[in-house]
């Protein structure tokens, strides 16, 4: 009698474990599909948005993207270089009149050096630097 109950309990456990095993197996197969899924290249998407924002001179939006991206990575991932350059230029240019008003010569000089480096890196997008300089009255 005791054996009969033991067998019944074990059989019930076997059924439950069997169902759980199948569920886990399906979940594991899906997890591999998730891991090796094809993902769209985020840099392409950002590049399109960047060009659109440039067209409308929405440098505030470019700066926002720059700051948000930098929260994850201080250095640009491949494909994000333009956003980082434009954002870094705008960010540094914003401080130019502030340092000048404060007569912070050391900071001002360092900032100017940074701007010169980024300006050289802007290449075809040199217009960004000119637009930003105009906005901050540089």
């Amino acid at each position: 009698m005791r054996n009969k109950y033991t067998v019944l309990i074990i059989n019930s456990l076997l059924v439950i474990a069997g169902i759980a095993f199948l569920i886990c197996l399906i979940d594991m197969i899906y997890s591999f599909r998730y891991r090796f899924r094809e993902t769209s290249d985020p840099s392409e998407e950002h590049a399109d948005v960047f060009e659109y924002q440039l067209e409308y001179k929405a440098y505030n939006e470019i700066l926002d993207s720059y700051h948000v991206l930098r929260m994850q990575d201080l250095d640009p991932k491949p494909g994000f270089e333009n956003i980082y350059r434009a954002g870094a230029y705008a960010d540094a240019a914003f401080m130019v009149p502030v340092y000048e008003a404060e007569h912070s010569d050391v900071r001002s000089e360092k900032n100017e050096q940074k701007l010169a480096v980024i300006r050289n890196e802007l290449g075809d997008h040199i217009q960004i630097a000119d637009d930003i300089d105009k906005i901050v009255g540089r």
Binding site: I10, M28, Q53, K110
Partner: protein, 251 residues
């Protein structure tokens, strides 16, 4: 033994007397008992075999159950690893803990150079804000001020670098409101952290950030020191109206 009938000697296992053929009651009883014992023995043996068989069957089931459970655990681990984000915050925090000396020095350098925006980005990128209570405890107070300074500058940048194209979506009202909110947050944090901070150098950095924000207001919103003081005393709505007035006058 002696036969009760003819008194002839008989063996204890002889069922009948070899002399007169009379029954040997002792041997008969013994044979009967033996039959009963044999039957009982067979029955017990059968039960024992059946029990052993059942036990073996339970053992097999238990083994299968154990294999299933191990399989479930392994599959759960594999699934979890597959779904896990390889660049999770955990790895970044681990890196920040590992490089505490190097990152602390870099933060000190940013602060010394007045590169507060860089410092804020650095804090975000390395998840240092989640380690204030431990490895980066000494930055615990100034980090809050840096964060609010960062938000204020970002708010101002949003206003200053807005698009003036007529057919582009304008978020200027929201940007102005956000900036006013960040400014209030900054001054509240600045006042509180100045009371908590004991490091004189960090106190000077906090003052420097406050001065920079005032200078930025002076430069970009064309306010003098007196106007800034009265601007800061305004309600959030009042501040927003004031900035809108300044921007309207610029145009």
């Amino acid at each position: 033994m002696i036969c009760d009938n003819c008194r002839h000697e008989i063996g204890p296992e002889d069922l009948k007397c070899p002399n007169c053929g009379a029954d040997n009651p002792f041997a008969l009883q013994h044979a009967k008992n033996m039959e009963e014992y044999e039957a009982a023995y067979k029955e017990t043996e059968e039960k024992a075999r059946q029990f052993a068989g059942n036990t073996a069957s339970i053992g097999k089931r238990a083994a299968i159950l154990a294999i299933l459970l191990i399989g479930i655990v392994v599959m759960l681990i594999v699934s979890r690893m597959n779904y896990a984000d390889p660049d999770s915050d955990k790895a970044v925090i681990k890196d920040a803990v590992k490089n505490v000396d190097l990152y602390s020095d870099m933060m000190e350098e940013y602060l010394e150079n007045g590169e507060y925006m860089e410092c804020a980005s650095f804090i975000f990128a390395h998840e240092i804000k989640s380690l204030h209570g431990n490895e980066y405890a000494r930055f615990g107070n100034i980090d809050f001020v840096i964060m609010d300074y960062y938000e204020c500058i970002r708010g101002m940048e949003d206003i200053v670098f807005r698009s003036n194209e007529a057919d582009y979506f304008s978020s200027l009202d929201t940007d102005i409101n956000n900036y006013c909110m960040y400014l209030e947050d900054f001054y509240s944090t600045y006042a509180n952290m100045k009371l908590l901070e004991s490091n004189a150098q960090y106190l000077s950095y906090m003052d420097d950030m406050e001065t920079e924000l005032r200078t930025a207001m002076r430069v970009y919103f064309s306010m003098d020191e007196e106007e800034i003081d009265s601007f800061l005393k305004m309600t959030r709505a009042g501040k927003a109206v004031k900035i809108e007035e300044v921007l309207d006058n610029e145009e």
